[in-house]
């Protein structure tokens, strides 16, 4: 989960443009984390020390770990421990950007420490998605909207990120959310949740984006925007909202109700109160979630 939020962090701090982030996300699966990146992340080596070892490697045929031990930067135990660790996936984005020359190791070192500090992620617990960490990441993401996230809205968003990973793919970054009173849809589905917690959800995207979205969701190749592609937008929203109702029912014994989802096209949605717009950037386009409370 961290890589998606790290992507948002890089964009909002204007460290990289969207196209570079997309390219990093697309190439993540081809990358293996390097020991030097792990050592910087763990605070065991500085970027300058890693760079010095990398330079030594250009004229000595030795592994990074061996040279780091020779230089006294790491002990053998530390090398083994780093190699045994699970890799926090946001580090892979960082490493990709170093490898392709977008960032230096020193810039990555600064970024990691500021990202961890701002989101209260400690080195020790980076391998597991801790609930508190995720809560901080989501709350920080929504700080910009000046909206107080209720416990239910927080649950809704957490499930949304998990469902996107589960059904569409983890290669996305949430863009900065915003508040609006009007929104013009492209291909959109909407569904109302009623009960103790009520809201209207909208899920909107361009036709081209919807074709690939549907192909991923249904695991079938769609070539053109047709009724099945349109239904996939509706189906995902209905599935997500249904699973949310199940969670709320199981966790809090609260029964919520769903209206049937409805499709709309090129429609102006307006609201007297603020609506929250959350764009999710995938390599194939942007999925827009709109929430009216």
């Amino acid at each position: 989960m961290y890589s998606q939020f790290f992507g948002n962090y890089l964009l909002s701090k204007h460290i990289i443009p969207a196209d570079k982030l997309i390219s990093a996300i697309e190439n993540l699966h081809t990358k293996h984390i390097k020991l030097g990146t792990l050592a910087i992340h763990a605070g065991l080596m500085t970027a300058a020390q890693v760079d010095a070892i990398v330079i030594r490697q250009t004229h000595e045929d030795k592994r990074f770990g061996e040279l780091a031990i020779e230089e006294g930067y790491l002990t053998r135990e530390q090398v083994n421990s780093l190699l045994d660790q699970q890799t926090p996936d946001y580090l892979l984005i960082g490493q990709y950007l170093v490898d392709n020359g977008t960032l230096t190791n020193a810039q990555l070192e600064d970024l990691i420490s500021s990202y961890q500090a701002e989101n209260k992620i400690s080195n020790l617990e980076h391998t597991n998605i801790q609930k508190e960490n995720l809560q901080t990441l989501i709350r920080n993401l929504f700080l910009i909207t000046d909206t107080e996230l209720s416990e239910n809205l927080f649950k809704y968003l957490t499930l949304l990120f998990n469902n996107l990973i589960r059904f569409i793919g983890e290669d996305f970054a949430p863009l900065n959310p915003s508040v609006c009173k009007e929104y013009l849809t492209s291909q959109c589905s909407t569904q109302i949740i009623n009960g103790e917690f009520s809201m209207t959800s909208y899920f909107d995207m361009q036709e081209d984006t919807a074709i690939i979205f549907a192909s991923r969701y249904v695991k079938e190749k769609f070539e053109e925007y047709d009724e099945y592609v349109q239904a996939s937008i509706e189906d995902f929203l209905n599935l997500h909202n249904g699973l949310f109702n199940v969670n709320v029912s199981n966790d809090d014994s609260i029964e919520l109700f769903l209206n049937p989802p409805v499709s709309m096209e090129n429609t102006l949605i307006s609201s007297a109160s603020n609506m929250i717009l959350l764009p999710i950037m995938y390599p194939f386009g942007i999925l827009n979630f709109l929430i009216k409370l």
Partner: protein
């Protein structure tokens, strides 16, 4: 009865959900499908065709799944109705079973669950 001879009614407002369920059942040997995209259509088709089994969504326009179960059971107390819904809360499950549904499947669809439901009712190919 063999699955290939059974009339199977699929009631779901999503054309995609109907197609996905139909694809799974076809791959298991099902041949005769009836489609309905809202609760009223499910009731009307049931009364006309008397299918052997009904797969039914709960959240649907015009009449929801639970209303459809109640009306179908009134017409035919032996109706075999399986709920396939994204809203598998305890109370939804309880209500559907009380109304007469025989099984309840939580979406997303799981091929093995569908297979097990069909194996309990029909002979294979």
């Amino acid at each position: 009865m063999k699955l290939e001879d059974a009339k199977i009614l699929i009631g779901d407002d999503s054309i995609l959900a109907r197609k996905q369920l139909k694809d799974i059942i076809s791959s298991l040997g099902g041949r005769n499908f009836l489609d309905a995209s809202n609760g009223q259509e499910v009731i009307d088709i049931y009364k006309e065709q008397s299918p052997e089994v009904v797969f039914l969504d709960i959240v649907m326009p015009v009449k929801d799944g639970n209303t459809a179960i109640a009306e179908i059971m009134e017409f035919d107390p032996k109706a075999d109705i399986v709920i396939v819904s994204s809203v598998g809360t305890q109370s939804q499950l309880k209500q559907a079973i009380q109304l007469g549904a025989k099984d309840f499947l939580q979406k997303p669809l799981n091929r093995r669950q569908i297979e097990s439901i069909l194996n309990n009712r029909f002979e294979g190919r």
